[in-house]
Symmetry: C2
DNA sequence: GCTAACAAACAAACTAGTTGGTTGGAAAGG
DNA sequence: CCTTTCCAACCAACTAGTTTGTTTGTTAGC
């Protein structure tokens, strides 16, 4: 086996992704990452410091990847956005798993990559606002947050979905039907933004 | 201190709830559960066998509690259902955390309490179907699954919500506004069930 | 005083992180 | 062109510390 530090690093990172996505920070085993990568544990510590640092690195990379793939494009319809996000999460469920691990394990005040993430969502919010012909603001942000959840929820909690739908979501047809339902649900629900603003406007200004 | 095995057991279970909700199975520490409960570790092993058994017990109890509190009642409007669930999750976020831990840590085929859970969701599905004047079936089940997610998502991923909404959801007013938005979103979105059935009906029969 | 409930110490197993030593291969020197 | 030197990449084995689960002794109710 030829020596190639970059390939080594890539192999370790790939192994760490699989391990952390599967077991989280507390459950992950450095020995297993080493075994999976085909390299020695010492290489991991030499390159990435400690387990936590490696986790942060992997987490950052994976969440950014997910974020970039689920941005609201200029002129994108909310239904199309939900379909796109749904398909992406289905194709890369390990990225969503990392979001769950983060939600659970990152309890303190500190949020990694906070600035970049806020900016990314602000951009999506602006695109969504433009699409709806509304000013960007808390109402549109709430909608964005809801749309993100609409597409992510059924993938993240697929087991729950099977229990609720009587295994309908376990089939490919069930998944497609669910997806198109969510697309329509998002389109209809989005109308509620205007309703709600009107009815609640006295509180705002 | 008077002898009271039941109180001891209750104290241990309460401590275990807090610990497991906070750290999950892998991250939880039996010593911490003992310390929190005010009793000795040996009592835990004497009563509950091992860490895993205690976890399963706590998980079952908490998920059942959550399920029972978020059942669709006969004649309940979908908006009211979402509001009720949202409020419940906000008041007991540790129950939702257990659902996340389960989604992540329970990867195998086996699902604890599968029968009871399916029955519970089937009952909610029936109530929801009756409310909509539709037959129970995969369409209504998909809607139920979506409504559950709509109410749970923003609480489970509150940190993400802060990033997306620019900290709007960190305030009490922001939470209330989000809640009422979700209520309206659910009501409007529910209409899509009829739309989608009609347009996709040729695939069904 | 007998027994169930408790505390504390203990052993075995496991895990993150380290150390000392080995190897491939490039560069320097002849 | 060959060989010696040297260094970074690499690894097996080890260490220090933690964690689960047990055992041994103590206390308090009946």
């Amino acid at each position: 086996m030829p020596r190639d530090p970059e390939a080594t690093q890539a192999a370790i990172l790939a192994a760490a992704r699989a391990e952390f996505a599967a077991y989280g920070l507390a459950g992950a085993r450095v020995d297993r990452i080493a075994a999976r990568s085909g390299y020695n544990k010492e290489r991991i510590y030499a390159r990435f410091g400690d387990k936590e640092s490696l986790y942060q690195r992997v987490l950052s990379e994976m969440l950014e990847e997910m974020r970039l793939a689920t941005v609201v494009e200029e002129g994108e319809d909310v239904g199309d956005y939900v379909r796109k996000s749904f398909d992406f999460h289905r194709s890369r469920p390990e990225l969503l798993r990392m979001l769950l691990w983060e939600a659970l394990e990152c309890t303190g005040e500190f949020v990694p990559d906070e600035q970049e993430r806020r900016r990314c969502y602000a951009r999506s919010g602006a695109a969504l606002a433009a699409q709806l012909g509304r000013p960007a603001g808390p109402e549109v942000a709430r909608l964005l947050f809801t749309l993100i959840g609409l597409a992510a929820w059924p993938i993240a909690f697929s087991t729950l979905g099977r229990l609720v739908t009587g295994d309908d979501t376990a089939t490919e047809e069930g998944q497609m039907a669910l997806r198109e339902f969510l697309v329509e649900f998002a389109r209809h629900g989005t109308e509620s933004i205007n309703e709600f603003i009107t009815s609640g406007s006295r509180q705002d200004l």
